[in-house]
């Protein structure tokens, strides 16, 4: 359960406790029971599906796990000729592009959400909000094509030469010729793709902050900035963390848009202006023509790692959220 759902869940439970919903008529009680079983069955399907997915992945990836063991995680080799595989390039590419996307998208999304909720007239907020939701509806392949034909030339001609000209260009993170495509470009595309999601969810969370609470803040003489920081953000923290993880999940798993702009290279490089690979785009590119059993098993193992990482993120988020809630005493 993500933090947003957690919020909703608790609210429902609280409402349930009221006397109004107690079963009064036998027929209605029967319906309730049927409905209950139906929802339980649906929920069980989800859990069963997850288990099935994990076990099939593990089974299919077994040849690779057995062959390479833990060294799969830090080996940079990806050699279809000699059947040697390692996932370090893809892991680094996934991590780097996701961090770039998050670092760019989350602050902007939060600021836009605050603007929409706190600072502009509702009419303006509605129009901008609709535009943001439309951005979220664009299929990822369109982002990929746009990235390849528009963003890549811009990166190659202007952005990367500009970075090279500054002292930053000497850092291992930015060395190399300006190809245009690469991990940085993939991160930028990803930031654009997750921006609408994070914005939309943060906006809804901030809207849920009760007017009374905010007015209490204003009544005590707090400025808009103080109310935003100390009341709205704290109250909505759980939801905002949920939005953050929604963006993270999308960025980590995005496939098509990244496949077009990342440059598909299995050579390890710390530089984010060099071509690289992410786990998802590598699977998409190579799975259909995967040559041997070990090659395919290695691709599945990459998928398994992604799967495990996503679950791990969720767990960490939940634990961290519980601690934060205790400390700030917020409701969400």
């Amino acid at each position: 359960m993500n933090p947003l759902q957690a919020v909703a869940h608790r609210r429902v439970r609280r409402r349930d406790a009221g006397p109004a919903s107690r079963p009064a008529r036998p027929l209605a009680a029967g319906q309730d029971a049927a409905f209950r079983w139906f929802t339980v069955a649906c929920a069980a399907t989800v859990v069963a599906l997850m288990g099935a997915l994990a076990s099939v992945f593990a089974l299919e990836a077994w040849p690779s796990i057995k062959e390479f063991g833990l060294s799969f995680l830090w080996s940079t080799e990806w050699d279809t000729q000699n059947d040697r595989y390692g996932g370090a390039v893809q892991l680094w590419g996934t991590a780097a592009s996701t961090v770039i996307a998050i670092v760019i998208a989350v602050p902007i999304a939060l600021l836009v959400a605050l603007l929409l909720v706190e600072l502009v007239r509702p009419a303006v907020g509605k129009v901008v909000g609709m535009a943001i939701e439309m951005l979220a509806a664009i299929p990822s392949i369109i982002y990929g094509m746009w990235g390849l034909f528009v963003l890549v030339p811009l990166m190659q001609r202007y952005v990367q030469p500009a970075i090279q000209a500054t002292p930053l260009g000497k850092l291992p993170l930015f060395v190399g010729p300006p190809y245009g495509i690469g991990v940085l470009t993939a991160g930028l595309i990803l930031s654009l793709m997750i921006l609408p999601f994070v914005t939309a969810v943060s906006r809804d969370v901030l809207r849920m902050v009760p007017q009374v609470v905010k007015e209490a803040g204003f009544g005590m003489g707090a400025t808009t900035w103080e109310v935003t920081r100390k009341v709205s953000l704290r109250y909505g923290l759980g939801g905002i963390v949920g939005a953050f993880f929604l963006g993270l999940g999308r960025a980590v798993g995005e496939t098509m848009a990244v496949a077009y702009v990342i440059g598909g290279s299995h050579l390890f490089s710390w530089s984010i202006t060099d071509p690289g690979y992410t786990i998802a785009s590598n699977i998409a590119n190579e799975f259909p023509e995967a040559a041997g059993d070990l090659h395919r098993a290695s691709l599945v193992e990459l998928g398994l790692i992604l799967f495990a990482a996503t679950i791990l993120f969720q767990l960490i988020a939940q634990l961290w959220l519980r601690r934060v809630r205790k400390r700030v005493g917020g409701r969400a």
Binding site: L27, Q31, T80, I181, G263, S265, P275, N285, P288, E289
Partner: protein
Amino acid sequence: MSASRHIRRVAVRHLLAGVLLLSLTAGAAACGDSDGRSARDDAGRAADVALTGAGASFPYPLYSKWAADYREVSGLKLNYQSVGSGAGIEQIKAKTVDFGASDAPLQQAELDEAGLLQFPLTMGGVVPVINLEGVRDGQLRLDGDTLAAIYLGTVKKWSDPAIAALNADVELPDQDITVVHRSDGSGTTWIFTTYLSAISAQWKSAVGASKEPKWPVGVGGKGNEGVAASVKQMSGAIGYVEYAYAKQSAMVTVRLRNSEGGFVAPNSEAFAAAAANAEWENAPGFALVLVDQPGPDTWPIVGASFILIHREQNDATAAKALLEFFDWCYENGQATAVTLDYVPIPDNVVDLVEAMWTEQVTAGGMPVWP
């Protein structure tokens, strides 16, 4: 509660239960039909037969066009899924499709083990494309060794003596070469690297022929369109694409030196020459890659796309319909192939293929063809 309301509620509940039951039985029926063949076995006429194929993406535009054209002629429903050669081979082995398609030929041993027959249905050329200021289409000349050295990263600049020696009349800038390759696994890459392996011993030992080789240098583009976009955007770039793609997007191609020392430009005649001069008779399973073939006008990087069918067919009617389709492609589909920039299979090869059908394709012990 009034009686009528009570009745309505009960009715609704029964209706819901009915819908649930119905959807369950429908699901069960769908599961029972999963091998998809039971319906086909009853089919009498070719018009009622539906055939499926799966495999290589390289010939997909042609196969789907052929299937549509042939449907108008014969009424046969043929569905080709471009899922990739690897998946196509797996599906034909598992008998979930009627034919598979692969860009890389299987070796005879693997064919025998799975009880498969293999034959080429169409061919295509792969061409290097460049983006170099002041160099026009067909102006630059390269040979296989130099191309391999560029893709190995040992030749790094356009002004390198190895390139200059082949191009005395072209002014070459002192510019870095940006190597572009496919990032997705593809038959095009397999044909290209097979060519480099055939020419350059160094390439063969360092990289070899593969659909997803370990590229020593360069950036990857997804699909022909990705490689083309990168080459067009980057000054000093070199890449390789299917001929149809280079032609349709008006890219700058190079002339390559063939096995007889002539520099040829990529075009349909040069690809056809490669097929005509190849020794198909001596290749078991037609497992021939048309790289570096003899002939003065031969383009050196050509590949055939292969069809895989089972030697033992379950259903004589369906098998006959399938072979009739392939025969129609050989006979009447060539104009379409040329329009889409694929290369027709030469007549002498078609005769060899159909002789093989007569000899080896059977259903219930009886020959299917002709």
